[in-house]
C-alpha cells in the first residue's frame, strides 16, 4: 500500500511539474529565438543556460509556434547542410513582451504568497 501511495504521489508530482514547466518552456524558447537558431543548436543553447528540453518536445513545439505566427523560419545552407532556421516574428516579439510581464507579475505575487 505504501508503495502504491508513493507511486501515485510521484505520478502526481510529475504531472504537476510538467504543467508548471509547459508555459515556462514557451517563454524560454521565444526569448532564445530573439537570436536565430536551428533546432539542435537551439536545444544546446537552452541547455547551456540550464533549460534542458527533450528533442521530441522541442522540435514539434517549434513547428506549433511557427504555425501560430510567433516564429518565422527559413531553410538555409550552413556547413554544407540544409537546416531550418527559426527566429522570433514581429507578432512573437509582441506576445513575448506580454508573457514576460505576466511572468514577472506572477512571480512577485508567488513570492509574497509563499
Amino acid at each position: 500500500m505504501v508503495d502504491l501511495a508513493k507511486l501515485l504521489n510521484s505520478d502526481l508530482f510529475e504531472n504537476l511539474r510538467l504543467e508548471l514547466r509547459r508555459g515556462s518552456l514557451i517563454i524560454a524558447v521565444l526569448a532564445q529565438l530573439r537570436e536565430e537558431h536551428y533546432g539542435y543548436a537551439l536545444r544546446k543553447a537552452l541547455a547551456e543556460r540550464g533549460m534542458e528540453i527533450e528533442e521530441s518536445t522541442l522540435y514539434p513545439l517549434l513547428r506549433r509556434l511557427e504555425s501560430q505566427g510567433l516564429l518565422d523560419s527559413e531553410w538555409r545552407e550552413e556547413d554544407k547542410r540544409n537546416k531550418r532556421f527559426y527566429r522570433l516574428s514581429k507578432e512573437g516579439a509582441h506576445i513575448l513582451k506580454q508573457l514576460l510581464e505576466e511572468w514577472h507579475s506572477m512571480n512577485s505575487s508567488l513570492k509574497r504568497i509563499v
Binding site: 533546432g39 539542435y40 527533450e54 528533442e55 521530441s56 518536445t57 522540435y59 513547428r63 547542410r81 540544409n82
Partner: protein, 348 residues
C-alpha cells in the same frame, strides 16, 4: 548512418502524410547535427551501439510522431493514429464486401439498376460504421485521459525500445515508383478487371451497360444494330488469358503490395500481350459489323464506318500508351536489378 535512416522510416509511418517530408527532413538534419556533435566530441565516428543509444534517448518512433500531431478535440493525438488505422481497415473490408456483392449480382444477371443500387448502398453503410468506430474511440480516449493508461504503456515501451530492432530500409521510399502499390488502387483495378472479364464472356447486364455508355440509349434497344466482327472472335481466348493474368497479379499485389518485382514482371507480361492484341485489332477492317435483322440497316450502315474508325484510333492510342507503360516497367526492373542498393536510398 543506416540505423538513423531506419529510425526516420519508422517515424514516417506514424506521421500525417501531408507533413511527412517536411518533418522528416528537419528531424533528420537535427539528428545528424547531434550525431556530428557527438562525433567531434569523441574524435571518431559513432559505433552502432552509441548511435542506438542516441536514438533510444530521442524516443520511440510512435512517441516522437505523436508529438507532431495537432491536438484533436474528439480523439486525442495519442490514440488518433490507432483510430485512423482501424477506420481504414474497417472501411476497406466494407468496401471489399460491397464490391464482391456487386460482382455476384452481375454474375447472376441482375439488371444494371440493381447493381448500381448495390454499389451506392456502400455510402449508406459507411457512415454508421464510421460513426460507431469514432464513438468507441472517443470513449476510449476519455478513459485514457482520465487514467493515462496509454501514456504509461508508451513510457514503458519507450524504455524497452531498441533502435537496432527497427525494420530494414524499404526500397526507394523517396520515389513514388519504389513505394508499395497502394491497396485501394489495386482493389479498383481488380474490380474493373473482373467486370471486364464478365463483359467479355458475355454477362448480359455488363455488356448492356458498356453498350449504353458507348452508344447512348440506342445501346439499350432490344435490337442492337451492331455485333462483334470476326477479328474479336480471333482474340477472344487471348483476351480472357490476359485478363486472368491481370487478375492473378492484382490479387497477389493486394495481399503483398511490397512485392514490386512480381508486380512489374506480371505487368510486362500482360502489357506485352495487350499491345499484340491491340495491334491486331487496330489493323482489322472492322471490329463491329451490322447485326442481322436491324430495323434501319441503311442508316446504321452509314454510321458503322465512323464507329469503327473511332474504335480503330482508340485501339491505336491505347496500344501506344500500353507500350510506354510496358517500357517503364522494364526500365524499373533493370534499374532495381542492377542497383538494388540505390533503391534503398535514404527517405529524407
Amino acid at each position: 548512418m543506416e540505423l538513423l535512416e531506419r529510425y526516420l522510416q519508422a517515424v514516417r509511418a506514424y506521421l500525417p502524410k501531408s507533413q511527412q517530408e517536411d518533418i522528416l527532413k528537419e528531424l533528420g538534419e537535427n539528428l545528424r547535427a547531434q550525431v556530428e556533435d557527438k562525433e567531434s566530441e569523441l574524435g571518431r565516428a559513432l559505433n552502432e551501439d552509441e548511435l542506438a543509444a542516441l536514438l533510444k534517448k530521442h524516443g520511440h518512433p510512435l512517441f516522437v510522431a505523436t508529438r507532431y500531431r495537432q491536438t484533436r478535440h474528439l480523439i486525442g493525438s495519442t490514440l488518433f493514429p490507432v483510430y485512423w488505422f482501424v477506420v481504414k481497415i474497417i472501411l476497406g473490408f466494407v468496401g471489399f464486401g460491397y464490391a464482391i456483392s456487386a460482382l455476384v449480382l452481375i454474375a447472376q444477371g441482375k439488371s444494371i439498376l440493381e447493381v448500381l443500387a448495390a454499389i451506392f448502398r456502400f455510402s449508406g453503410a459507411v457512415l454508421p460504421t464510421f460513426a460507431w468506430v469514432t464513438i468507441i474511440f472517443a470513449v476510449l480516449d476519455i478513459g485514457n485521459n482520465k487514467f493515462r493508461l496509454l501514456e504509461k504503456i508508451t513510457r514503458d515501451s519507450n524504455e524497452k525500445f531498441d533502435p537496432r530492432t527497427l525494420p530494414a530500409l524499404r526500397p526507394a521510399s523517396r520515389s513514388p515508383e519504389g513505394k508499395p502499390i497502394p491497396r485501394y488502387k489495386t482493389a479498383i483495378e481488380l474490380f474493373f478487371s473482373i467486370a471486364f472479364l464478365l463483359w467479355w464472356v458475355r454477362v448480359n447486364p455488363i455488356r448492356r451497360l458498356a453498350l449504353f455508355m458507348a452508344l447512348g440509349p440506342a445501346g439499350l434497344a432490344d435490337k442492337i444494330p451492331f455485333q462483334l466482327g470476326p477479328v474479336l472472335e480471333t482474340v477472344y481466348w487471348p483476351v480472357i488469358l490476359l485478363t486472368l493474368v491481370a487478375v492473378v497479379q492484382q490479387v497477389v499485389t493486394l495481399i503483398h503490395p511490397e512485392r514490386l518485382r512480381f508486380y512489374r514482371v506480371m505487368r510486362v507480361i500482360s502489357n506485352t500481350g495487350s499491345v499484340i492484341v491491340l495491334y491486331l485489332l487496330s489493323r482489322a477492317d472492322g471490329m463491329l459489323v451490322l447485326a442481322p435483322g436491324s430495323t434501319d440497316p441503311d442508316g446504321f450502315a452509314q454510321v458503322l464506318p465512323i464507329v469503327n474508325m473511332a474504335l480503330h484510333y482508340t485501339m491505336f492510342f491505347t496500344a501506344i500508351m500500353t507500350a510506354v507503360e510496358c517500357f517503364k516497367q522494364i526500365r524499373l526492373l533493370f534499374r532495381e536489378g542492377s542497383h538494388p542498393k540505390a533503391a534503398a536510398s535514404p527517405s529524407v
